[in-house]
Amino acid sequence: MTQNDKALLTRLREQQVEFVIIGGVCGILHGVTLVTLDLDICCRFSRENLRRLEAAVKDLHPQHRLTANKLPLELTDELCDSLKNIYLRTDWGTLDCLSEVSGIGGFEQVWQCSVPHTMSFGEFRILGLDALIAAKTAAGRLKDQEAVRLLLVIKEKKERQKDLF
């Protein structure tokens, strides 16, 4: 079992997938100290963008991880039009792709609430701190509540020290 978020993100960027980093990894980038086992993104569910997503992971044996038979990722135009989420298991780890985020809305709203961030392996957009708090609050699971508590601390700290990311 492996999970290499940096490698997955690099692949997505190389294939020019339109996406925003959400979920636990977004929390990590903001400073949350909880461990997360998957990479969650919100992406545009257009045929073109989903084809780019497929190309990004095609040699990583992508499977729909929640299907009983672990069906391989083999997109058709018809399937692209029907999917709202894609939950993948790949050789480089779990990649969950959502078309919308609870508490925020669809991809356009998520994009509006995102902020650019440059790392050594590329520029990415991540959900802004307030939006992440709203999303985690809306999700409402125990692990989300834990994350919200830390995110509120980080927000408070940021407001007191404007130089923090």
Binding site: N4, D5, K6, I28, G31, L37, R149, K157
Partner: protein
């Protein structure tokens, strides 16, 4: 001679920063290790991602070891 306050901190008592706000104090009271959060916030986002990757690798290694143990 170590004073009582320092000794308490050596034993795990958290020294609340003077500028700690209500959210910070509430999280500390809830039992979070705020010193870890302080350290993390001193890092760049990319350094945070790398630190998380190392922690995640350890978690996955322990999970695999548990699965191997259960299979025996």
């Amino acid at each position: 001679m170590i004073d009582a306050k320092t000794l308490a901190q050596m034993n795990g008592e958290y020294a609340m920063p003077a500028d700690a706000g209500p959210a910070w104090r509430a999280a500390a009271a809830h039992g979070y290790d705020m010193s870890l959060l302080e350290e993390t916030l001193r890092l760049t986002p990319e350094q945070r991602l790398e630190m998380h990757q190392r922690a995640l690798n350890t978690v996955l290694m322990v999970m695999e070891a548990g699965e191997c143990h259960d299979a025996k």
